[in-house]
Point group: D3
Chain length 147, copies 6
Amino acid sequence: MTTEPTTPELTTSAITAKDRKEPAFLFSEKQVAEKSELARRFLDNRTRLNENVDKAGNFLVKRFYNLDHNTYLEGALPAKYKELMGVIASVCLRCDDCIYYHAIQSYRLGVTRAEQEEAINVALIVGGSIVIPHMRRAYELLAELYV
Amino acid sequence: MTTEPTTPELTTSAITAKDRKEPAFLFSEKQVAEKSELARRFLDNRTRLNENVDKAGNFLVKRFYNLDHNTYLEGALPAKYKELMGVIASVCLRCDDCIYYHAIQSYRLGVTRAEQEEAINVALIVGGSIVIPHMRRAYELLAELYV
Amino acid sequence: MTTEPTTPELTTSAITAKDRKEPAFLFSEKQVAEKSELARRFLDNRTRLNENVDKAGNFLVKRFYNLDHNTYLEGALPAKYKELMGVIASVCLRCDDCIYYHAIQSYRLGVTRAEQEEAINVALIVGGSIVIPHMRRAYELLAELYV
Amino acid sequence: MTTEPTTPELTTSAITAKDRKEPAFLFSEKQVAEKSELARRFLDNRTRLNENVDKAGNFLVKRFYNLDHNTYLEGALPAKYKELMGVIASVCLRCDDCIYYHAIQSYRLGVTRAEQEEAINVALIVGGSIVIPHMRRAYELLAELYV
Amino acid sequence: MTTEPTTPELTTSAITAKDRKEPAFLFSEKQVAEKSELARRFLDNRTRLNENVDKAGNFLVKRFYNLDHNTYLEGALPAKYKELMGVIASVCLRCDDCIYYHAIQSYRLGVTRAEQEEAINVALIVGGSIVIPHMRRAYELLAELYV
Amino acid sequence: MTTEPTTPELTTSAITAKDRKEPAFLFSEKQVAEKSELARRFLDNRTRLNENVDKAGNFLVKRFYNLDHNTYLEGALPAKYKELMGVIASVCLRCDDCIYYHAIQSYRLGVTRAEQEEAINVALIVGGSIVIPHMRRAYELLAELYV
């Protein structure tokens, strides 16, 4: 006899390509840009710089971008939680552009402000006070997005 | 007329202490330790080292531990997603002990293997190949937990 | 007979809340801002962003800020050395805002320029040439503070 | 009999001071600044801030700068590959100023755009999507340098 | 008239898939394992853990591994320099397993000990004394590989 | 009339080589090794690995070691505080070997356990919960050193 937990329902694992699909955004990037000036400036600059990267046509970069895109699709986890996980990773690793990108994506998927704050709290406790300046700038964006 | 999105339901923000409560674990640490030898060794070592920290009685450490505990309670986000966020933060910042801790907590809260893998995928794409050795060790634990 | 060192005076350890008190600043933030234009811009921006964070009223953030504040009080170590340690941590982890904050706090507590430079040197040797751009910007601030 | 590889030619190791010499740059910093506005602004700002550091006359900083300079001289590895290695280290550790510095040095030593892109690709795969914003800014510089 | 450098030969950029091919290794992993006990233990452990990852069959992990493999092929830069760049990235980001992997790959491609040391020197100056413990362990491996 | 603080005594800056001297250790490494088994194992391993590095005779490594040594001499800041700063930098950057080294050096210079704990607290608040596993191992050493 064993006391170990039996968890048949937890063990179905394999994530296959067919389980994945594009998430349904509630808002377009254009709508976000119209609502928040900080978001607009970020998105415009990102578009401009990405066009320059695209022009170079480096095929490994293209494949990396493609893989990156696939990572955040609907799958075993809802896309909105994966975008929030992108927020946390970005706060922990302290990249303002990355925080902006994933906070905007989260917003577009219907993540509430309270959820964004809780996600940032996880990053704050894991990453420490060194992430505070990034948290402050994230809150500045949140104040414009959630009015 | 404005095209900006109206999102009243998204703007209720303040997270208060009363909204938070201890999550309901499906499995105890003891059950996890009985199922996985890797988990058992990790938990035993962690307990032993924490006892030594407790003995020192440093009050700032105690307060930090308390705040850390509060961060992962049920709140605006379900505890299970916050533990998964702990996994991502730990993989991105490359701390094996932290990965083990949050992967075990996630398991105890009913997170499936497919969900754990997807969370690790976010960390892999954000953090790059430098996280692969940690991912390998995480998969070693997952293989023991999800049988 | 044993050769091991007997160090009774070193082993009195426990740091208690009562041993801690607010440090006595030689200069106010206002005085620093009047002396250095770089400091003024930093402090103004920090105040503005913190007000926005305060408005959100997230209670875990408040508790983290409170714990952060307590860490740098007078205690077993003089506050001025702990602020300098904040400088080192900030240079090693490469956060300009954090460097500015702790360099200003150190200055306010009477830390000399030579002491600030020596602290930065520890961070330079530990953290390597990747910290040089941050060191340069720190020296720009020091040049305005210590005239 | 042994299957182990015999590699006499690989084992001559010691790098001595005499093997090292200044690399022959194809272009001066002035020429780079005239070609690229982004490079010019970076170089001007760097010069200004370094003059301030020099004025402080901290002898450990001076020695660190000297050692830093020596690391990239012609030696067992051609200087151009070491500057490219500086690019990779800087992208992995995510320091825009450092990326600019080493990308310019690489250009001055005749590194092609394709070589710079491949080096950045190594950093992208090792460091993950968190380095993408830095990669974008690096590509912006490359577009001005390689016309 | 312009003083700007004309560099037609530097501007041919696009890296295409067809320019890339598998590098020609001088030594097999088996030969390396027979020569160095440290390498053997590392390679055995890596194989064991990778088999476990493979068994999970996560398709994003597979694609990441594939992209990772492609990054180090012969291309605009010789594979041996890209493996050395992998060494530098790994020392800067302080991952012992990654250092071992790329140092072994570099050795298999004919990189000399002096070249490995110079590459590590770049990482030491960029990354600072915090990388020294990893450098020490790297030298321990080099001592076994280059006899 | 000006409100700016006049701080003549703070502005004497230049740190010169002559101001620096070897610190006076209260305990030898041998005494530390006899008192703490954890310290003994660390010191023995470090010595063994350093002998291997020394044998390679890489002159840039030698110069880096020399500069590293000079950084922690008595100077504008007492050596004991600089060793404690080494502890903080090492906890923030999460390097167990480095923590052990500087905690032992601090102990040898008469730093008390309470001072070590306060220094670690600064690193804990700056670096976040990700440093806790390293803090635990540091406390394990402190428990052996301060009996």
